[in-house]
């Protein structure tokens, strides 16, 4: 089996670029899980076919369907296979992300969790318009609410046709215009690339905010959407599996090369700490640092 499993439904431009970058770094990769192959749950046992399940050494989360990704990542954790993913944004939804960022005191727009059409309308009335509905599932696109007619139509439509999933959502104050939005790709804690239609350059403050966001979410790979407002940059949204085909590199590495480097770091053998001869070894520390468990980074 390949060293790296690229968790996705099919190889899009991004996954192909990632696999090329991994190959360039001498790392064998393959799409994961293998098509039409059921995944084992818990300790490995021979499949009905008699073969053992092909387990990669590490999995990179690139699955656009977050429900499937969450299930496979959980299974990988049970099999002791570390995953490179967006942490809380990979395992959770927009509410989990908003809560984690709020707990860290990172700047976000005024936000309300709405569980019904009426709650949505009340939130909009309190915040004012324009506003934006962000469905809890991170794969669904935010919906602009520029005026009250649109707000009523969208909230009613979602509630009637979408059931409880459609009734649930975050309402955020404002609708940032594209020229005030920048998407920063953070890989292994470092702002690596960006995508924006902003005319002016992006400040260091914005890059640091994206990196703080990634840290707060325990994300190895994530895109952070930052809106520039008169009171400063705020975290508008995140993308757990970002498209990066149009991203402009901020470092000497492209996004796929930076992900390949992050994979390489995790594949390097964990060296056992050398113990000073005249002191009592800290076995607790040794255990947590010396196992592969500490490579399980997804939340």
């Amino acid at each position: 089996m390949a060293t790296v499993g690229v968790l996705c439904a099919r190889g899009r431009v991004e996954e192909k670029a990632l696999m090329a970058a991994l190959a360039e770094a001498g790392i064998v990769s393959a799409l994961f899980p293998p098509t039409d192959e059921p995944l084992p749950v818990g300790p490995l046992f021979p499949m009905a076919s008699g073969r053992s399940f092909p387990v990669p050494q590490i999995v990179v989360d690139r699955h656009p369907d977050r429900q499937i990704a969450r299930a496979v990542l959980a299974t990988c954790r049970a099999l002791d296979v570390p995953g490179l993913c967006a942490g809380i944004a990979a395992a959770g939804d927009r509410l989990d992300v908003a809560s984690a960022l709020a707990a860290k005191g990172l700047p976000r727009p005024e936000t309300a969790l709405c569980t019904s059409e009426n709650a949505g309308l009340a939130a909009v009335a309190a915040m004012g318009l324009p506003a934006t509905v962000l469905p809890l599932d991170l794969k669904s696109q935010p919906i602009d609410l520029p005026d009250i007619d649109t707000a009523e139509a969208v909230l009613e439509h979602r509630s009637v046709l979408g059931g409880s999933e459609g009734s649930l959502g975050l309402v955020q104050a404002g609708t940032p215009p594209p020229e005030n939005v920048v998407t920063i790709f953070v890989i292994d804690g470092v702002a690596t690339a960006l995508e924006t239609s902003m005319a002016m350059g992006v400040s260091v403050e914005v890059l640091r905010l994206a990196e703080q966001t990634a840290r707060a979410l325990f994300a190895d790979v994530i895109a952070v959407v930052i809106a520039l407002t008169p009171s400063g940059p705020i975290v508008w949204d995140v993308r757990p599996v970002p498209e990066f085909r149009h991203a402009q590199a901020l470092t000497e590495l492209s996004v796929p090369q930076a992900i390949a480097q992050a994979v390489q770091h995790r594949l390097e053998p964990v060296s056992a700490p050398r113990l000073p001869s005249d002191s009592t070894p800290d076995w607790t520390n040794l255990v947590t640092q010396g196992t592969r468990r500490d490579l399980v980074i997804s939340a």
Binding site: R10, G11, R12, S140, I143, V154, H157, L161
Partner: protein, 54 residues
């Protein structure tokens, strides 16, 4: 005439199709809709099910 899959970037020759027809990318397997025939262009086929409120 060559078309490019917007999903995976693969290029292949597409002929004898009508506008609106759904074809499958031979590389990544995504369903694509024939947008125009002269020149031939394809886009991601609309997903099944109602896209409520998006």
């Amino acid at each position: 005439m060559n078309v490019t899959c917007p999903e995976c970037g693969a290029e292949w020759e597409l002929s004898g199709v009508e506008q609106g027809e759904i074809v499958t990318c031979p590389d990544c397997g995504v369903d694509l809709e024939v947008l125009t025939t002269n020149p031939a262009t394809v886009g991601l086929a609309p997903e099944e099910g109602e896209d409520w409120g998006e």
